[in-house]
């Protein structure tokens, strides 16, 4: 038997089973239907949905599922003889999704998923299983929705040592921050609007506390640094503390506030954090509007790559899921994380507490003699040099002080703020946001 040629010759369709028929699952079915002819040309063979798994078979999803076999138990898809490859869009790090992934790989069936929580938590184990069975494990849709960021960085930038990769990986947060920015909304008003528009859940913590972005970042970092995923190593801080005042002050300084997911190599150790940062207004991330996602990767030969697009939604997510399916149909895929799991580096964690860089600091202080001196002394004693400072008189005996430090050790700045918080100069907890170096 000779190896298959690289121009697909197969006339046998690839038969897909889809687990989960929510927004994304329905989108995948609709995409495969609407673009069927084009996809068959590009994949070299037809792609057919032969089975689905969802709890409620009676609900009208506006898609045609006439000839498709229904399973109530998603795991049964793995053993359906009419399913060649399994697509999982149920979600959740464990439970049914994980069982289905394990069962599919055990049954020798390629597995395509949009499940960032599962890949961040169990990607290494699943990739090892896929590798042992020599079948595809694909998860383009798990990071940055419709933007083919895994493809572009895993394969398109494969010649580069990536120095750092970072971006806006949560559209809900970006919607909130840009709404606060462009229309001077309060955080609460912007969040309420995001919820009303369906961009944020009733319980928004998964998005606005940075958890969702941390899962995506861990996957992206593994791809870019040829490293084992380490989602527990991501320092996470959400956007709840950001006020309209911060947005305004940052703007006056020439910055935008964005929830930045950052992975960076520092002396052989991996720094990973998700936290609100100031980015220069002229940085590409400063222009990313509304719900969009964007990723910047800096390679030692390619320089800076910037990719922007829809990070969520049924259409964009289905686009990424089906791109993976087409790769499977074409038999064009390699190891899930660019190389054998055993060859990936287990990188030590960089000390996020001692990152060196400029900081934005916002203080609400008592409007009395000597407060400015207390702040200046605390900074001086911590060895922190101040680049700029603005004091604005407030109401009710309070004033606002906004300062920007020169590049300093984060721990030193936090130490100075702790010192201040122990005195009576501050009337509210201080806020420190890193300023992203360009």
């Amino acid at each position: 038997m000779t190896p298959p040629p690289h121009v697909p010759q197969s006339t046998r369709p690839l038969r897909i089973g889809i687990a989960g028929l929510g927004t994304v699952g329905s989108g995948v079915v609709r995409l495969l239907d609407e673009n069927a002819a084009l996809i068959a040309r590009r994949a070299g063979r037809a792609i057919e949905v032969t089975a689905v798994a969802a709890r409620d078979a009676t609900r009208d999803r506006g898609i045609n599922l006439g000839a498709v076999r229904w399973h109530r138990d998603a795991v049964a898809l793995a053993n359906d003889p009419d399913v060649d490859a399994v697509v999982e869009v149920i979600g959740g790090a464990d439970g049914v999704a994980l069982e289905l992934a394990q069962a599919s790989l055990a049954a020798g069936k390629p597995f395509v998923t949009a499940n960032k929580a599962m890949i961040a938590a169990h990607g290494m184990a699943l990739a090892a299983r896929a590798e042992a069975a020599d079948i595809a494990l694909k998860f383009e849709a798990a990071v940055a929705g419709g933007i083919p960021v895994i493809k572009a960085l895993r394969e398109g930038a494969s010649a580069n040592r990536i120095e750092r990769v970072y971006g806006i990986l949560n559209g809900t947060c970006n919607f909130i921050l840009t709404a606060m920015e462009s229309r001077a909304l309060s955080f609460d008003a912007a969040l309420a609007e995001a919820q009303a528009l369906g961009y944020a859940e009733a319980d928004p913590g998964f998005d606005i506390d940075g958890v969702d972005a941390s899962h995506k970042l861990a996957i992206l970092a593994a791809i870019c640094f040829s490293a084992r995923t380490d989602v527990a190593g991501v320092t996470v801080e959400g956007i709840r503390a950001i006020s309209a005042e911060d947005i305004k002050e940052a703007d006056a300084l020439g910055y935008r506030i964005r929830l930045i997911a950052m992975a960076e190599m520092q002396n052989g150790a991996l720094l990973q954090y998700v936290r609100p940062c100031l980015v220069a207004a002229e940085h590409p991330l400063g222009y990313v509007p509304g719900c969009l996602n964007a990723v910047v990767a800096e390679g030692n030969f390619v320089g800076r790559l910037f990719l922007e697009g829809a990070g969520a939604g049924d259409g964009p997510t289905a686009s990424a899921v089906v791109a993976d399916i087409i790769d499977v149909a074409r038999d064009e895929y390699g190891p899930a994380f660019t190389m054998a799991v055993g060859a990936l580096d287990a990188l030590p964690r960089a000390d996020v507490g001692h990152v060196v860089g400029k900081s934005y600091i916002r203080l609400h202080v008592a409007d009395r003699t000597g407060v400015l001196a207390e702040i200046a002394i605390a900074m001086r004693d911590a060895g922190v040099s101040v680049e700029s400072l603005i004091q604005r008189g407030g109401t009710g005996g309070e004033a606002l002080i906004v300062l920007v430090t020169h590049a300093s050790d984060a721990a030193a700045v936090d130490g100075a703020l702790d010192t201040l918080a122990q005195g009576d100069a501050l009337v509210a907890p201080p806020l420190r946001l890193p300023i992203l170096a360009l």
Copy 2:
């Protein structure tokens, strides 16, 4: 014999022959050397340069070519028994580059090239040969330099019907236009600066007349629309007619002037043009600074994707070339143009003369009674509706009139301008620039 597994197991290096040791060729050698260990992990095997072809073996290129075999005749690389795959960075649509491509494919050797002129002109014939021999033909570096736009659109957006793809594909022109914009330079001054910095050749026509961008566009269109390349079908107009005045007037209207390469499906026909256009200041292309390239693709499920990065230079171009080599080493590649050449559509050409859209028109007119009426009447008689008009008094009996039309048939607007040009109202040829619809 069983097919090879998808996790590369080969310990045999992939041996590369490089034709051309100018900036890009030297960059490829340096990249393969500097990132050798990482590339070997990602490719699953070492990639070694075993032979090169260049006219002058004595020139110091700052790269280590100690153990490498030298050929004076590039075509000899195809038959060097120590070369598994050939990289061509000589350039030129025909001549040695084309001979080498043909000889490599005839010898059954994968062929990687950065040669946009050759792929635009001969891509179909070369792809058919590669397909018949079941070997790789790759040209990521031919479009948008280091941005992995072929990879991202061919594979990452493969599930989508692309509605249009467009962007900034010539960094030299973007440098000139953005220098005129940010520093109010004249066209000649900006061109001279580009030449002094090495961004433009002594004979700059290939860049500033839009030829280079037209080659890239023809390749991009073929990839996105699953169509045969049609470089002769690209309407091309360069940036020589753009004045500092146009940049300023466009800015006042909320637009930037960019050399736009556009490919769009219009009722089953393919519209392709390269020409200066106005883009809204808030459009992502409006922010692309200096020498960068950027591509926008609009898919029917993914929505708008935006990719930006370095479009030229040795590092970025080498990054794209080596990404292709890694795909070859991994045995992860498919048909050069996403499907068998015989399956590609031969699309009819859309009539670029009748594109409907807004236009920017700049007129230098005689400053006398009745001129404004003549212009208004010419527009009215051609059925062109005017959205806005500014007249500015000039010196020497001349005035400047800038007008923006409502969406109109391009031929109607051009007809009105022809009518005016036949009278004596205009003291210089009129300029019409399309305004890009968002």
